[in-house]
């Protein structure tokens, strides 16, 4: 039987607010345990939550960015359960009425051996605001468990998809797209190591062609795309094998072990918790007005898809290049800076993608760490487009710039890479080459185009690569056809 995997994601994006979602406590990462646990974070008797408006603006921004419904009213509810790192004994979350309703995210799934690249629209069911819990720290003191409440009350936006993904590749493409989007609109720092962006993946399988969903298992807390890929692949295979062996899948929460590459059930959902959700009487319903939306919209950066379309029409970039350039806001910004500093758009795109980001990828760095800034890259691009150096010579200059030299003209000078564009000098070279290669000239005249290319090559060689190839072409043609 052929199987189909069905995947949905729940992503917790930690919002980039300075203070916690219901108090003035700091959200900075990495402080000494409990130094950011204010009276609200520790749930002292009598304290009350006050909603952080910045967190709400982040949620609205996200909603607008995915074209989602933003209901006029949403409600904060208490999700009740006991856990030592949950100080109030309940988490303030949103249940029936979330701040962000239905929306969608368009993903690009990269090509594989068997399949070309394609786009797909993933439905977003909802996104809601909630507070993070603290952390239990085991082993810091022998035989004891510690509680660190620094993180308690950190704002999260939980983004839930429809079960729209049909492969690990689609799930990873979605997660990457979402990861980029939340950073693009500047609501989340996207730091997966620090847990600022974590994904729970719901996986089920069903016979291909059927429409009923299989029983899902939820892989919790994946904090890298690589692990996500591995976990889904393993889990999918496990479910298929289990079913083919006549077994059944039971709903469960599972964890992925990166060391073994396997998934394992953490707890069965059979005795599922009753969270006794009810509207939090300490908080009024959250109202999002048209004015709120307009204010946030005014602050919204141009979104990736709009920017891609603009780059295609304004700068005549290919769809492929435009997509690559708009894969991150930082890269797009670098590209725009390069153009603004006078670089030719098409060439700039080539150098940003083929030069800068390729190099950064191999060194596993982000564009913020690029040793060549946009203005300097623009200088290089200008020297290529004004004919001072050839594109090939540009590569040598680029390498030199990467390792420290930032004065483009000085490098060209030093390496003697200046292109010869002086017509009389080129004519002299061509004359020499024609004189020395009479046989080729004859072949050309007999109609062999290949001979022309060979003559161009000879001339370039004679100029030690410095002759302007366009001019060499022109001069050769003129002389041969004369």
């Amino acid at each position: 039987m052929e199987w189909e995997v069905v995947i949905g994601l729940e992503t917790h994006a930690q919002l980039k607010t300075k203070t916690k979602i219901f108090s003035g406590g700091s959200t900075a990462y990495g402080a000494e345990p409990n130094t950011q646990a204010c009276e609200v974070s520790t749930a002292l008797p009598g304290v009350l939550p006050v909603l952080n408006k910045e967190a709400v603006e982040c949620a609205i921004k996200f909603g607008l960015a995915i074209g989602a419904e933003l209901p006029k009213l949403s409600v904060f509810s208490r999700k009740n359960y006991f856990y030592p790192d949950l100080p109030k004994g309940y988490q303030i979350s949103q249940f029936e009425l979330p701040v962000v309703g239905k929306g969608e995210v368009t993903i690009q799934v990269p090509e594989t051996k068997n399949q070309p690249a394609y786009e797909k629209v993933i439905g977003i069911t909802r996104a809601h605001l909630e507070e993070d819990a603290g952390k239990s720290v085991h082993g810091a003191v022998e035989g004891m468990s510690g509680i660190d409440l620094n993180r308690a009350g950190t704002p999260l936006l939980e983004i839930v998809t429809e079960p729209d993904m049909r492969s690990a590749a689609e799930a990873v493409a979605y997660a990457k797209k979402l990861h980029e989007l939340v950073q693009w609109i500047d609501i989340c720092d996207g730091n997966m190591q620090e847990g600022s962006f974590r994904c729970d993946v719901n996986v089920s399988v069903r016979p291909k062609g059927t429409t009923e969903l299989g029983t899902r298992r939820e892989i919790k807390n994946l904090n890298s795309f690589k692990f996500m890929q591995q976990a889904i692949a393993y889990e999918t295979q496990w479910q298929i094998e289990t079913l083919e062996d006549g077994g059944t899948i039971e709903q469960a929460t599972i964890l992925f072990n990166p060391d073994t590459g396997e998934t394992k059930a953490m707890r069965s959902k059979e005795g599922a918790n009753d969270y006794r959700y009810f509207p939090d009487p300490d908080l009024l319903p959250l109202e999002v007005t048209e004015a709120d939306k307009a204010r946030v919209q005014a602050d919204m950066p141009e979104l990736p898809l709009a920017m891609k379309a603009r780059f295609e029409s304004e700068y005549a970039l290919s769809a492929y290049d435009a997509l690559a350039i708009t894969s991150s806001r930082a890269v797009a910004g670098y590209f725009v800076d390069t153009i603004n500093a006078g670089g030719d758009p098409k060439l700039a795109a080539n150098w940003v993608m083929g030069g800068i980001t390729a190099k950064l990828n191999t060194e596993d760095k982000s564009i913020a760490d690029s040793p060549i800034d946009a203005a300097t890259l623009a200088q290089l691009v200008k020297r290529i487009s004004d004919g001072t150096i050839s594109n090939n010579a540009g590569k040598q200059v680029f390498e030199a710039m990467w390792t420290g030299g930032l004065d483009v003209d000085a490098i060209i000078e030093e390496k003697g890479l200046k292109q010869v564009s002086d017509t009389s000098a080129i004519e002299a070279l061509v004359n020499e080459v024609l004189a020395a290669n009479q046989a080729m000239v004859e072949e050309y005249k007999a109609g062999k185009q290949k001979a022309f290319n060979a003559l161009v090559g000879q001339t370039m060689k004679a100029s030690k690569g410095k002759a302007n190839p366009g001019q060499v072409n022109q001069v050769l043609k003129k002389k041969l056809d004369a």
Binding site: L48, V50, D274, R276, F278, L284
Partner: protein, 489 residues
């Protein structure tokens, strides 16, 4: 001095007739003398109180005093007060020293008032007799064998026995007004949201409201001037403009339309209490008030609705008392679950446990719609009843409590009988309306004791100034509010 109004005490301080330290010491001495009879205070800290009094004397000397500067106020032990033990009447918080001030405490501190001590109360404000307190029951100063009412029983007894100049209370279903009625003084539960709940230990968040407990309407007005006000730390705090609650005290009552809800005079109301209320009505007629009959058809549902909603909220409000960060933790336990269970089993009393169980039940999957949602719907109907009533009248009057103070222990085994104590007061909490109880006379008990009876005055939203005016007018022509229990002179 002890029977003087806040205004008179303030004048005594201003004229240097007495210092705040002397005044505070007078009350502290009285507490030393009488507290063992009534158990009104859980925590006293003479040094802290006197230090505040001394600071107040400095403010008085500097001429920057406000009306309550230097006045010793008893604080219900539900308000967190920095460096004061704050127990909420529970073993769970027996050793909890609050590291911050509740907004109410901050307001009194800003006014220069003296915190005289923390008063006894039903555990987590759950009770109508102060018998659920971990720190022992409070005795009614009018008859020490009877309850003072609850949950603000300690504040009530302290005001009645003149062991403070005035006190604070909180009222979730009647916890200011019912003890005010049973102990014979004036208590006001303001419009929900008028006084910040920040730092006031939560029982049922959507119903809890702090208010003054004092000898007279005028005293309550001065207290309200300190307590009321918007606080951004409480999301349910209302951004209502600051008012001077004394400004309308002396307005004539001519033409005041008073509604009498027939449901508040039906079966269940003690005939002696009814007589006292009738006399008060007659007095008001003399003052120029007109009376109309009104109906609150859903008022009878108040108690069942309340005993779904309040426990629901309480059951999760009290989840934070888990023994992990502060409060009682069992001495020995096997694992985390065992620690939770033992700590909470030991830390909470029976009534608190009962309400946590009820609340957990009504919020459970499968029961939520039938209980919690339905109760919320009826809550709206009850509020609508009042809305309709206020088209016919300016203010509503009736008894505060169906009867006078009962004997300690009389109702402890019958929670439903206990819950009926609040039958006339709960509806206002559900509607968020302000309610007040003023002393209106006495009823003789079977054993020959004079027991106070309270008249309830229910106003429309934000109508506290008018309610205080209505109370004050009555207190200008009657002297029930100046009566003092024997034995506390």
């Amino acid at each position: 001095m002890i029977n003087q109004s806040l205004k008179q005490l303030s004048q005594m301080l201003a004229s240097k007739e007495v210092s705040s330290v002397e005044m505070t010491q007078t009350f502290l001495d009285r507490i030393k003398q009488y507290n063992s009879d009534i158990n009104a205070y859980i925590t006293l800290d003479e040094d802290k109180s006197l230090a505040q009094a001394k600071a107040a004397d400095g403010i008085l000397a500097a001429g920057t005093a406000t009306p309550l500067t230097g006045i010793p106020i008893a604080q219900k032990d539900i308000f967190c007060a920095k460096d004061w033990r704050t127990t909420c009447g529970s073993k769970m918080l027996e050793t909890f020293i609050a590291p911050y001030d509740a907004n109410v405490i901050t307001q009194f501190n800003h006014a220069g008032a003296v915190n005289l001590g923390k008063t006894n109360m039903d555990e987590f404000a759950m009770g109508s007799s102060n018998e659920t307190s971990y720190f022992g029951c409070v005795n009614n100063p009018w008859d020490l064998t009877r309850v003072p009412g609850g949950s603000s029983g300690g504040s009530a007894a302290a005001v009645a026995a003149r062991l403070c100049a005035a006190a604070t209370g909180t009222d979730t279903g009647g916890s200011i007004r019912q003890p005010a009625s049973l102990c014979g003084f004036t208590g006001l539960k303001p419009t929900y949201g008028l006084v910040s709940r920040y730092g006031m230990i939560a029982f049922a968040s959507s119903l809890d409201q702090a208010g003054p407990m004092a000898k007279s309407a005028e005293d309550c007005a001065l207290m309200m001037n300190v307590m009321a006000g918007f606080d951004e730390r409480d999301s349910t705090s209302l951004n209502h403009p600051k008012e001077d609650y004394t400004s309308k005290l002396n307005q004539p009552l001519t033409g005041l339309k008073v509604g009498l809800p027939k449901e508040y005079f039906a079966e269940g109301l003690d005939t002696d209490v009814a007589k006292v209320i009738d006399n008060a009505i007659a007095e008001y007629k003399k003052l120029g008030a007109e009376f109309v009959d009104i109906s609150l058809p859903n008022a009878g549902l108040s108690i069942p609705v309340y005993y779904v909603l309040a426990p629901a909220e309480a059951s999760t409000n009290l989840s934070r008392y888990d023994g992990v960060r502060y409060g009682h933790r069992a001495a020995e336990y096997d694992d985390l679950m065992d620690m939770y269970m033992k700590s909470r089993a030991e830390g909470f009393g029976d009534e608190v446990k009962r309400r946590i169980l009820i609340g957990t039940y009504v919020l459970s999957a499968g029961y939520y719609d039938a209980y919690y949602l339905k109760a919320q719907k009826i809550r709206h109907l009850i509020a609508d009843d009042f809305k309709a009533a206020y088209k016919k009248c300016d203010i509503i009057m009736g008894p505060t409590v169906p009867s006078t103070a009962f004997k300690t222990g009389e109702k402890t085994d019958d929670p439903v009988a206990m819950y009926l104590q609040d039958i006339y007061t709960i509806a206002t909490n559900l509607a968020g309306l302000p309610g007040m109880s003023i002393p209106a006379g006495f009823s003789k008990s079977s054993d020959g004791k004079d027991l106070p009876v309270g008249l309830q005055i229910i106003g429309n939203y934000f109508d506290e100034a008018r309610m205080l005016n209505v109370g004050h007018a009555y207190q200008q022509v009657t002297d029930w509010h100046t009566a003092m229990p024997e034995g506390f002179a």
